[in-house]
């Protein structure tokens, strides 16, 4: 016993030694990996199949607009936006404010056609407002689509809001407007800061929020606006999954007691149907409208002022990942189970008797190999796939460089974490079949059930929260906006967890499994 104590004498030298010892274990595991040709080839195949399937899916996606597609406006934050509304405006120089009373907000919605259609061409149009129909006051840099703005508005079902620069939204008081309970709205400009207020009586004002619009020029446009996004219907797909369709909707608001302060040019209001779509004959498709009678103004608008969440996204080029993932899982499982099958694990444990460190070294080795492979594959798939999508006439929703980097590196991290999880499961089971199945059922199957089955959206979202498949959230490049109605379901490419949170769930599973594996490896006789 005294001998043993002497052997375990602690000290700085031993810690240093341990670290270098770990590096050796890591190197040994790397040597082990690279000297089995099948594994190296399988990893290369995983990368290749990820890229090729991604490119295949990209080349299967075409868009044509009969000529050049109209340019998609881009908001101040660099995101693609829809900037389509009816704006009744005047120029404003320097500081100032606009105050209005909204006395009514109504609208109409076209419902899905009945099947079979009773008489061709019949449209079922009912009166009503979609939840995010909006009307109110706005100060905007210019009439150019995508330019910076701030607005205070009443909405169809979400009360008073202050929004700016498409992505920002602050809630005011809930409730709608009517003749009996009108709403006063006020927007004040002071330099680059715009502050929104609301009131129920025109005397007691409540601040809703303040927006800082960087680089707002001296001369801006101020006025009244109305817009209504289409009515969204999500239907479960025939083969599973879901598809979303948007139908025409319009909002009409009545304003009175309009007052302007500041250096506003005298004269008339200028109505503009911002971003209106033109039919081939040159007439406006679903035009808005403006009526002025006395000091009452009626503004009707179609469209939305919001970030775009629909359309090809950079992660669409990563469809091959699932196949690559399965290959990675198989290799990672075999990295440990072949050792058990041949008794090689004993040799490994003779060389590295501190079992926890040995297994962690193994996990790091397979994780690093997978990460590098995944990084190469994801970079190629996204870069080339985006090129193909654009060449096919598609508009790929633009994202910030950091987001693109996150999607690519996150995909690699997703693969690496899955590999570590698979390795840990392999250590726990010691049998390759059980381990491969378990890893696939944990990581791949929930994703497939959530995105491509007849499972309802709620269940799908829980799958993407609770299972290791949550890690796929790291691939979502366009966030779900609470103030834009969208098909925010896993089948639509939107996950319930934030990207890093999703990846953290997967990593949590991997760490937990690795911990269990270390515990078991230490407890069991080899």
């Amino acid at each position: 016993m005294s001998d043993r104590r002497r052997g375990d004498a602690p000290g700085l030298s031993t810690t240093v030694a341990h670290r270098s010892g770990f590096a050796r274990l890591l190197r040994a595991e790397w040597t082990k990996f690279r000297t089995v040709r099948g594994w190296v080839l399988a990893m290369a195949a995983a990368a290749l199949v990820t890229v090729l399937l991604g490119l295949l899916s990209a080349s299967g996606s075409h868009t044509s607009c009969g000529g050049a597609c109209p340019a998609v406006p881009v908001g101040p934050g660099g995101e693609a936006v829809e900037d389509k509304f009816y704006f009744v405006h005047r120029p404003l120089n320097g500081d100032g404010s606009i105050t209005v009373r909204v006395t009514s907000m109504t609208g109409q919605i076209r419902l899905p056609d009945l099947t079979p259609t009773p008489t061709p061409g019949t449209r079922r149009v009912v009166s009503g407002l979609v939840p995010w129909a909006k009307a109110g006051v706005m100060i905007k840099e210019s009439m150019k689509q995508g330019s910076t703005y701030a607005a205070v508005m009443v909405t169809g079902a979400h009360g008073v809001r202050m929004q700016h620069d498409f992505t920002q939204d602050v809630a005011g008081r809930p409730g709608g407007v009517s003749q009996r309970s009108p709403r006063w709205l006020r927007l004040t400009r002071s330099g680059e800061d715009l502050t929104g207020y609301e009131s129920t009586d025109g005397r007691q004002w409540t601040r809703v929020g303040t927006a800082h619009l960087a680089g707002l020029p001296d001369a801006v446009q101020v006025g009244l606006f109305a817009a209504s996004p289409g009515d969204l219907t999500v239907t479960p797909g025939d083969f599973g999954g879901s598809s979303a369709a948007s139908r025409f909707a319009e909002a009409t608001a009545v304003f009175d007691q309009v007052s302007l302060e500041g250096s506003v040019a005298d004269g008339v209001w200028r109505p503009d149907d911002v971003g209106v779509t033109l039919d081939p004959d040159g007439s406006a498709h679903h035009p808005g409208g403006f009526k002025e009678s006395g000091d009452t103004y009626t503004v009707a608008g179609v469209g939305d002022i919001a970030p775009l969440s629909d359309g090809p996204q950079i992660e669409n080029t990563l469809t091959g990942l699932l196949t690559g993932l399965i290959v990675v899982i198989v290799v990672a499982v075999m990295f440990i189970t072949t050792e058990y099958r041949r008794g090689l694990i004993r040799t490994t444990l003779l060389a590295g008797p501190r079992r926890g460190r040995t297994l962690v070294a193994k996990a790091l080795a397979i994780g690093a190999v997978t990460f590098v492979t995944g990084l190469a594959a994801a970079t190629a798939a996204v870069t080339l796939g985006k090129g193909i999508l654009v060449a096919n006439g598609n508009y790929v929703l633009p994202v910030a460089p950091f987001t693109e980097l996150r999607v690519i590196a996150g995909t690699a991290a997703l693969l690496a974490a899955a590999a570590v999880l698979a390795l840990a499961v392999g250590t726990l089971f010691r049998r390759s079949v059980a381990a491969v199945i378990t890893a696939i059922v944990l990581i791949v199957v929930p994703y497939i059930l959530a995105t491509a089955s007849v499972l309802p959206a709620g269940a799908a979202q829980w799958l993407m929260r609770l299972t290791p498949a949550a890690g796929f959230a790291i691939q979502q490049s366009i966030p779900a906006y609470a103030h834009v109605l969208g098909n925010y379901t896993p089948s639509g490419g939107y996950y319930p967890l934030a990207p890093w949170a999703g990846l953290a769930v997967l990593c949590g599973y991997a760490v937990l499994a690795l911990g269990l594996a270390v515990f078991q490896l230490r407890r069991r006789d080899a």
């Binding site: 040994a28 000297t35 004993r346 444990l349």
Partner: protein, 309 residues
């Protein structure tokens, strides 16, 4: 570090069976220690406990005064050959040694040295899956020698070797011991160790039944037995039994006598006028000595063998 293996009071139970039941012994440097016992006596389990692969319920096993799992770069302290088939078949022999070398901070040069040393030569570049049993055994020895360790442990190293290989192995082990290393070699065949081992640890039923030099073991087993060749075995048996000896027939005209010294046997036979052609004090073979020791310790013996005796 002292080049020793010290095992003290190891106990380990697998369910109902007591695999190790107070196993204690020490392996000294500079000699080959044979670790013998019938199948299931606990040899492999002891080796695995020494190497930290299995955990003992009780007792300690130290290598150079330290538990194996506390060793830094353990292969530089102990080289072990447990199961030559413990390989990944798709990796080449050389690459198998290479990853092991990397785990101990050794380079490729050392790998080529040990490949040369065990005579694996160009075969090392081939997939280990295609190796013959003998080549695998050599690869296993190479792995054990990789760290140039002062202590070596080999589990049944002659398994699968051809006669030439066995001779090579014998010389190899002796040379390693001559360099001052402690060499522990297990076997279930005593004959295999006869020309190799200097010292023997004989085990049975999970404990040491003899811990002695080879010469000492033979001497102990030889005492008090006299071989007798006679044309009248029945008369000889009767006469000797009457004189108080235990007699067993070992052949048509040969008897083994215990309980009487050779000169007394001659006297008794002369007195009874029994003819005999040869009386000799018996010198036991190592095999016999071993059988003697492990008779009670054998756990499994075929029923046919039992009946033949």
């Amino acid at each position: 570090m002292r080049a020793t293996i010290e095992v003290a009071g190891l106990r380990k139970r697998f369910g109902q069976t007591m695999a190790l039941d107070g196993m204690s012994f020490t392996v000294e440097p500079g000699q080959v220690t044979g670790f013998v016992g019938p199948n299931g006596a606990g040899k492999s389990t002891t080796m695995r406990v020494i190497l930290g692969l299995d955990a003992a319920d009780e007792g300690t096993a130290l290598v150079g005064g330290r538990p194996y799992t506390g060793l830094r770069d353990p292969l530089r302290h102990v080289g072990a050959l447990l199961d030559a088939a413990a390989l990944q078949p798709s990796r080449t022999g050389r690459n198998h040694l290479l990853w092991l070398a990397h785990s101990q901070g050794l380079g490729a040069r050392r790998v080529d040295e040990v490949i040369e040393r065990v005579g694996l030569g160009p075969a090392a570049g081939r997939r280990a899956g295609g190796f013959s049993l003998g080549m695998r055994q050599r690869l296993g020895i190479a792995a054990a020698l990789l760290g140039d360790p002062p202590v070596l442990m080999l589990d049944e190293p002659s398994n699968g070797l051809d006669p030439e290989g066995i001779v090579w192995m014998r010389g190899f082990l002796r040379a390693l011991a001559a360099q001052g290393r402690a060499v522990l070699v297990s076997s279930h065949l005593m004959s295999e160790l006869e020309d190799t081992a200097d010292h023997l640890v004989v085990v049975g039923r999970g404990r040491v039944v003899a811990d002695t030099s080879v010469a000492g073991l033979i001497a102990a087993a030889s005492t008090g037995r006299v071989a007798l060749r006679t044309t009248a075995p029945a008369e000889a048996m009767a006469a000797l039994a009457h004189a108080g000896a235990a007699v067993a027939a070992t052949g048509r005209d040969t008897l083994t006598v215990t309980g009487l010294a050779a000169e007394h046997v001659v006297a008794v036979l002369n007195r009874s006028a029994v003819p005999f052609s040869e009386v000799s004090a018996h010198r036991a073979t190592l095999e016999e000595a071993y059988m003697e020791l492990t008779r009670d310790a054998v756990e499994f013996r075929a029923a046919g063998q039992e009946a033949a005796r």
